[in-house]
Amino acid sequence: MQGSLKSSSYKQLEQRSKYTNIFLRWFLYFVLILFASYFIFPLYVMIVTSLKTMEEIRQGTLLTWPSTLNFDSWLVAWGGRGYGAGDTFLKPYFWNSIKMVVPAVFFSTFIGAMAGYVLTKWRFKGDKWIFLFLLFGCFIPYQAILLPMARTLGVLGISNSVIGLVLVHTVYGIPFTTLFFRNFYVSIPSELVKAARIDGAGFFKIFFKILLPISTPIIVVTVIWQFTQIWNDFLFGSTFSFGEAAPIQVALNNMVLSSTSVKEYNVDMASAIIAGIPTLIVYVLAGKYFIRGLTSGAVKG
């Protein structure tokens, strides 16, 4: 008798918890969708606006889908209108940025990997201090080094050039990349290095043959970080370069702010998206490799 009473009350409890769970689940989805749309909304407006004609934009219907898909503003943003003076467009600056970001990411990642390797596997007297000073580099505000850096670039004769920007970004990236690689290599057993030394491998061989091949996850993290930082940088670009040597973010600013006649929102939006696409691509591509790298590491145990 008691047993049956009990089981019926259990059923009630079960039922109740089922409703609570359903409610919570739907509430969770609601909140997540709300946040997601909050973030996706500006992107939507940008894309839609870039595909509209100016007449359509002037009607003030911000959210409506364009009546016809019009890619003219993208062409203008990328390649210009084809007339001479005052026609700013992104194409040359896009390549400036590529020329700046590829070597800067490569060198800062490589030097950071080397430094992390030395700081963890070839310990020497005072290495802790060097690491500490490198860490300080992460915390120095960009503005503080503008003037000394401008002077240095002037003395080296590479101010207002892509090479100058490569140097600035490489130097400024090293503290971060070193930190990343140091923390990664600390977790790699030093016995690997010892075994390689007994096998007769030297400093560089151990780095290139043993450590670098297993560093994929941290290389990807560093590349994502450095690429985003350097590609999106505006301060260094606008300070140390102007005119034809400017990177894309500076050009974008010039384009959007210096138009003398009517504000062309569709072109502005298209330009902004173009300037943001490479980082998106890096995230999408490398992000996948990043997760793959992490999981393969987990299998290794």
């Binding site: 690997l192 010892k194 075994a195 007994i198 096998d199 007769g200 491998a201 043993i210 297993i214 393969s296």
Partner: protein, 364 residues
């Protein structure tokens, strides 16, 4: 000619003294185990032999050749690590021949060595696999294989079994023993596991606080520990160290615990030096397995002690007795029934005892 000789070796990390005046010698084909608690300096000593750590004082000789300042790769040694340290990005084959390739050995010779060793260790079917695709035992075997292909003068093992589970550990222990019997290469083996040390070593050097406490055969380490540290470290449960005094009348020497009526005659004990024994404060050392519940030898000493505690562990039981407020442990077959809180007759095998000076803690 000694295969390995270590002379007055000292090492410190900053102000911490890790090794103090170490002297060691190994003959060709011997299996030396460095045994000690963690932090005793045994791994540092091994790294120094390998050339992976620098020396502050002293010298290391391999085949009478001073290698103190020689690079690891030129010392003619090979090492097996606790974490195996297989190169994760290379397959088994590449792992095993990496050293030979660095040494610019000819391709034919490399291939020959690889075939020989991989067959010998039964890893020839695994050559194309990555270390991540191997089981613990297989990784261990590949790590040993990587050391074997180099045909070194000395094998160094740094706690190679401590990453394995209990069952596999016993198996691999036997394999290493077989390996040594077949190859007869000189081995230096670091471990903190006394069973491993006892079963593998032809010699055991017990270390503590950077000093070698005793370097001897497993039998002598077990039967004639040179100080209380070794006595306490070896054996499970460890040797009973009963504090008391020596009493000497004419030709009779006996051991007495304060407050006890029992005078344990120790005339048969092989003293290092027979002088100044009267009233000397000593530790009387007897292993739990040398205390019996029945008289088995004529020389056994009968004593009455109160049983306090019984621990059943299957094939045997460990009993704790009270000897004037000192605990005495004894190991009996589990078939014997002993009542607790009652005085029980026990028999000490006096041929198996050790005596230590209570002040210096050294064997007397």
């Amino acid at each position: 000619m000694k295969t390995l000789k270590i002379e007055e070796l000292s090492k410190n990390f900053g102000s911490t003294e890790v090794l103090r005046k170490i002297n060691l010698e190994i003959d060709e084909g011997n299996f030396l185990v460095l045994l000690g608690p963690s932090g005793c300096g045994k791994s540092t000593l091994l790294n120094i032999i390998a050339g992976l750590e620098t020396i502050n004082e002293g010298n290391v000789y391999i085949d009478d050749y001073n290698v103190s300042k020689v690079e690891p790769k030129d010392r003619n040694i090979a090492m097996v690590f606790q974490s195996y340290a297989l190169y994760p990005s290379m397959n088994v084959r590449e792992n095993m021949i990496f050293g030979l390739k660095q040494a610019k050995v000819s391709k034919e010779k490399i291939e020959e060595q690889l075939q020989k060793v991989s067959k010998f260790l039964q890893v020839d079917a695994l050559l194309q696999r990555k270390p991540s695709q191997l089981s613990g035992g297989q990784r261990q075997r590949v790590a040993i294989g990587r050391a074997l292909v180099r045909e070194p003068r000395i094998f160094l093992f740094d706690e190679p079994l401590s990453n394995l589970d209990a069952k596999l550990r016993v198996e691999m222990r036997r394999e290493i023993k077989k390996l040594h019997q077949q190859l007869k290469t000189t081995v230096v083996y670091v471990t903190h596991d006394q069973t491993e040390a006892m079963s593998l070593g032809t010699n055991i050097a017990i270390m503590n606080h950077g000093v070698i406490q005793q370097n001897d055969t497993p039998e002598n380490i077990y039967n004639k520990p040179s100080n209380t540290f070794v006595a306490d470290f070896i054996g499970s449960p460890s040797m009973n160290l009963i504090k008391g005094n020596l009493k000497q009348n004419s030709n009779q020497i006996s051991f007495v615990v304060n407050g006890s009526n029992f005078e344990i005659p120790i005339n048969g004990y092989d003293f290092k030096e027979k002088s100044n024994l009267e009233n000397k404060e000593v530790f009387f050392g007897i292993r739990p397995e040398h205390i019996f519940s029945k008289k088995s030898n004529d020389g056994d000493f009968e004593i009455n002690l109160r049983a306090d505690l019984s621990e059943y562990i299957g094939h045997e039981q460990i009993m704790t007795f009270d000897y004037e407020n000192q605990e005495v442990l004894a190991k009996f077959p589990s078939t014997i029934k002993i009542e607790l809180s009652k005085n029980t007759k026990l028999y000490f095998d006096l041929t198996q005892i050790s005596l230590f000076d209570a002040k210096t803690e050294e064997r007397i």
